[in-house]
């Protein structure tokens, strides 16, 4: 439903987005990840027709956003970065305006707004000017605006930024629910969100797509993927450490956290053993000391490790 073709954007000499291509089908939620300044928002601005690409384009349900922007925008909902709105309007007026200008008549507009208000739980603030709303509520008004006309395609720039935990949960549930019938792109800095709602994730850095895949496939690129994580009482940590020393072909990292000590047991580079085999080996090795063990688990790999590994170059450059 969304086809991005070689999207590129230059600001003067600076290339903010560099030859980005991908597509998103109905039923998918694509998560845009990347450090600050990676080009996530700029990409979204081009996809939604706000910015003109320097080259490349986006097809929205087959309609070229550069050729026929109005037709493409008709079936798209967009939450811009920072959820802008007109501060002097109330959410009720705002939603009414957005819905009616999209062509719905008065009755249909009221019905649509009611549904969006339901989903974003805006009942309490409907008649309060938007500039007096808290940040989270303002974001929810922006979300309501994006989904009010029940678009097939949803583009949301950091939809859960500034929401309280309940609302985060609620919005994620709403996105997952909508995903069944829509194609959705979100950007986020919250990596657990990617696990929670995205069917695919894409890491962008300095305007380029670095990796792309399902969240679990990306997490599997983590150095800790397949590591055995052992949590123990710190009183017996040293004994355990000594015992673990007897294992061969592994690398062990230890982290002391107050009353607990955490060991990560990784297969070293030469090992071709499976994660399960390692797990069994660790279990056998510690058989005598089970009293000291609080938890023993197999690590699936964490997205934030992968994220950090892949984008560290940018951070280092920026801090110089």
């Amino acid at each position: 439903m969304i086809d991005i073709l070689n999207l590129t954007k230059d600001f003067g000499d600076f290339r903010a987005v560099n030859d980005v291509s991908f597509s998103v089908e109905r039923g998918q939620v694509l998560g845009f990840l990347g450090p600050n300044g990676a080009g996530k928002s700029t990409s979204m601005k081009m996809i939604t027709g706000y910015l003109r690409p320097t080259s490349g384009t986006a097809l929205i349900d087959g309609v070229d956003i550069c050729q026929e922007p109005l037709r493409a925008q008709q079936c798209m909902g967009y939450l811009p970065e920072g959820a802008p709105a007109w501060p002097d309007m109330t959410p009720r007026q705002f939603l009414d305006f957005v819905t009616r200008i999209r062509g719905l008549d008065k009755a249909a507009a009221r019905h649509a707004a009611g549904r969006a208000i339901e989903m974003t739980e805006l009942h309490g603030v409907l008649d309060q000017p938007i500039d007096t709303l808290s940040k989270g509520f303002r974001r929810r008004v922006g979300l309501a605006q994006a989904i009010v006309h029940d678009p097939d395609i949803l583009i949301m720039d950091e939809p859960t930024d500034g929401l309280d935990p309940n609302q985060k949960h609620q919005v994620r549930a709403a996105i997952s629910e909508m995903a069944r019938t829509k194609a959705i792109i979100i950007s986020t800095h919250i990596l657990e969100e990617v696990d929670a709602i995205c069917t695919r994730a894409m890491i962008i850095d300095r305007g380029r797509v670095i990796v792309e895949g399902t969240p679990s496939a990306l997490a599997a690129r983590s150095a800790y993927h397949g590591a055995v994580v052992l949590t123990a009482t710190s009183a017996r940590a040293d004994d355990l450490a000594a015992q673990l020393e007897t294992l061969t072909q592994v690398r062990i990292e230890r982290e002391d956290r107050g009353a607990e000590a955490i060991f990560r047991i990784l297969r070293d580079d030469k090992s071709d053993e499976t994660a399960a085999a390692l797990f069994a080996r660790v279990q056998a090795c510690l058989e005598q000391m089970s009293a000291a063990i609080i938890g023993l688990a197999l690590e699936a790999g964490r997205l934030d490790d992968v994220f950090r590994d892949l984008t560290r170059g940018a951070g280092a450059e920026a801090s110089q």
Binding site: F11, K45, T48, G49, Y50, L51, R52, P69, L70, R71, Q73, Q74, M76, Y78, P80, G82, P84, A85, W86, P87, D88, M89, Q93, F97, V98, R100, I101, R102, G103, P129, Q145
Partner: protein
Amino acid sequence: MMRQVALVTQREFNSYFATPLAFVFIFVFLLATGLSTFYLGGYFEAGQADLTSFFLFHPWLYLFFLPAISMRLWAEERRNGSIELLLTLPVPLSAVVLGKYVAALSFSALALALTFPIWLTVNYLGNPDNGVILAGYLGSLMLAGGYLAIGSCVSACTRNQVIAFVVSVVVCFLFTISGAPLVIEVFRGWAPAALVDTLAGFSFLTHFRAITGGVIDMRDLVFFVSLIGIFLTATAIIVDMKRGDS
């Protein structure tokens, strides 16, 4: 398209009244028109039953009042980011430009309409030619339209309302005085006559005076309407070009 223009106009127009500022504005405007008519214009001394002294000062009042209305048209939109929302809704840019402009013009028309007590007064005191007065109001509205179109274009260039205000005043001032004898004299000596005539032809003052004189010449109306068209087109082009830089 017309429906969308109307919706944009309505939204924009309502936003003027979201704060008490609109009422303050109208109050001060009425006060200023009243004072200029009665004190500066010597309305009573003239002893005539017409509104010449009332319309006389409109170009100079508008010069400061109208940029205050138009300065926020686009600068504000850009400052609070809502321009991104506005330009990603499935609405033609021309509808947005026109809708916003019509809102500003309606607001200034409202302020102008509220000067009706002056009209009642002359009718009470004497027997004025109401046709001429009507022409005066038409001329005044045309003039306001010209100023606001310029203001809209300037507002599209910046996100700073103060800059938009100052630049609009300056540009409107140039358009106003370009036909004044003082300016014409400066050019007369050395510039080709065609240039001097063109310059004088762009004068708001000349065209405004012609209409308020009571003789409605199509050429004066065409002047204002085409000037408004040009500046609104320029507004759309500038908004379109400056999409990226916030």
